[in-house]
């Protein structure tokens, strides 16, 4: 019951989903739509697990007065504020112009955008560190990256040739390599999906 039933559920639901792909009839469409909604609903219930884990970890840090526990207080304050503001006026709590949305716009959005923009710095440092002509492979990496980057720099007469070369690289050899990766990923992922459906890959189920 503890081990067999989950494996059976995986098998039945997996086989059903594969079969429904080939059956356009509405009866299968209906079950498909329900199943997809159930998955979403399970995910929403699981959110409580997430909040529980986050809260428990922060609270125990504060209780233990672990190093940096003050920052865990900040996390809890942020979380509690958002939860309170998000529910106290019912479904109107998250309309545009509420304090909830103000916090979203003036705290969440700028931090998010800034974290994202760190990539500009990291892409430069990664290029500096790894683009060295040590091996043939590293050299290919370096040269193509340079050609593509140079297309944004006005270089006078060379610009035209470089533009052409850059777009040729992007549309021809780049496309070929991506297709090889795509096809490989396709085979790997389908094989893994099969292993899951047939219960061969089951590490994700844990053990008792």
């Amino acid at each position: 019951m503890r081990r067999q039933l989950p494996i059976l559920i995986v098998f039945v639901s997996g086989v059903f989903m594969v079969i429904q792909y080939f059956i356009p009839h509405e009866s299968f469409e209906f079950i498909y739509e329900y199943a997809m909604d159930w998955i979403i609903i399970i995910g929403i219930f699981a959110m409580l697990l997430g909040l529980w884990s986050l809260t428990r970890a922060s609270v125990s840090k504060v209780q233990a007065k672990a190093p940096g526990w003050g920052f865990s207080v900040m996390t809890l304050v942020g979380l509690a504020t958002m939860l309170f503001l998000g529910f106290y006026k019912g479904n109107k709590s998250i309309a545009e112009g509420t304090f909830f949305m103000d916090l979203f716009w003036y705290i969440y959005t700028p931090i998010q955008a800034t974290m994202f923009s760190l990539l500009a710095f990291y892409i430069a440092s990664a290029a500096y560190r790894s683009f060295r002509v040590r091996t043939v492979l590293a050299t290919i990496l370096l040269v193509t990256a340079l050609i593509i980057m140079l297309r944004l720099i006005p270089l006078g007469p060379i610009s035209g040739v470089n533009q052409w070369l850059a777009s040729w690289i992007l549309t021809v050899p780049n496309m070929a390599a991506k297709r090889a990766i795509w096809i490989g990923v396709g085979l790997g992922a389908t094989a893994t999906a099969l292993k899951i459906i047939f219960g061969i890959e089951r590490a994700y189920m844990g053990k008792d």
């Binding site: 994202f116 710095f121 440092s125 500096y128 683009f131 980057m149 006005p154």
Partner: protein, 280 residues
């Protein structure tokens, strides 16, 4: 440790500092950078030029603040172009944030002196129909009935009461669709669910990361033209004869790209130089 070895193991914070300067400093200058308008942008501009004044253009803004730096200038330049050409703008969003982005772009454009002279009116020259959930299904439903899909506009007035929406039933009454997209749902969905079944004319602006996936639709003619990333935005501004934010930002792009290339070159120079020494 000599200079070359130091260079080889350069503290990345020095690179960070240079990048910050390379991006920030050019923002203070207005430089006439030579930006050539590529055919994909030229095609989009030509298609828009062919629209007679009074044509109705549907603009779908499908992005959120995360893609603002790339797509917001495109939204602004497009609105500016439409107002100058007396094209009527109908705004929608397949992303919840789209209509909000549209409003902040409009706020900038409506305050420009040239546009102020034209004095575009809400409801007559432009409308914002807001966001409707449903992703590509929204496009499908618009194909049969736009007022039913968007019963109310962003501020809650009935869509049917807006003068601009008089006689706009479905895609047959729309002359052009312009889509700004940062992912799903976006340009791919507009092609598959708008262009293919309803034969709408579609132009798009995409983030640079997204753009290569859209190229096949250009070659097949399903898409009239495409602005790819900030550079595409700048090209459109040049094509419409009104260089603005994207063109200005391109100077930062060029300088920072050049800086990265320069760093790679000196890194390799140092690498070679130290290796030779070790060999000797």
């Amino acid at each position: 440790m000599n200079f070359l070895e130091k260079l080889l193991a350069l503290d990345r914070r020095i690179i960070f500092l240079f990048i910050a300067i390379a991006v920030a400093l050019p923002l203070f200058f207005t430089v006439k950078l030579h930006i050539e308008v590529t055919p994909v942008v030229r095609n989009l501009h030509n298609a828009l030029e062919a629209l007679p004044p009074g044509s109705k253009v549907l603009v779908s803004l499908d992005y959120d603040p995360g893609s603002m730096p790339e797509l917001q200038p495109m939204a602004e330049s497009f609105f500016r172009y439409c107002f100058m050409r007396d094209l009527k703008i109908i705004i929608i969003g397949l992303w919840p944030n789209g209509p909000i982005q549209a409003n902040s772009a409009l706020e900038v454009i409506l305050n420009e002196p040239d546009i102020k002279k034209k004095n575009p009116k809400y409801g007559i020259d432009y409308v914002n129909l807001g966001y409707t959930a449903g992703n590509e299904v929204v496009i499908e439903r618009m194909g049969s009935d736009i007022p039913v899909t968007f019963p109310k506009d962003y501020s809650g007035s009935k869509t049917e009461d807006l003068p601009l929406m008089k006689g706009v039933k479905n895609f047959n009454n729309i002359d052009f669709v312009y889509n700004l997209s940062a992912g799903y749902p976006g340009t791919v969905e507009w092609v598959l669910f708008g262009v293919d079944p309803y034969k709408i004319k579609l132009g798009a602006g995409n983030t640079a990361v997204q753009a290569p996936q859209i190229y096949p639709y250009l070659n097949s003619g399903q898409l009239v033209g495409l602005l790819g990333g900030m550079k595409g935005g700048a090209e459109f501004e040049i094509a419409t004869g009104h260089p603005a934010k994207a063109v200005k930002f391109m100077f930062s792009q060029s300088v920072s790209h050049a800086l990265i290339c320069f760093f790679i070159l000196i890194g390799n120079f140092a690498y070679f130089a130290t290796r030779k020494k070790k060999g000797a």
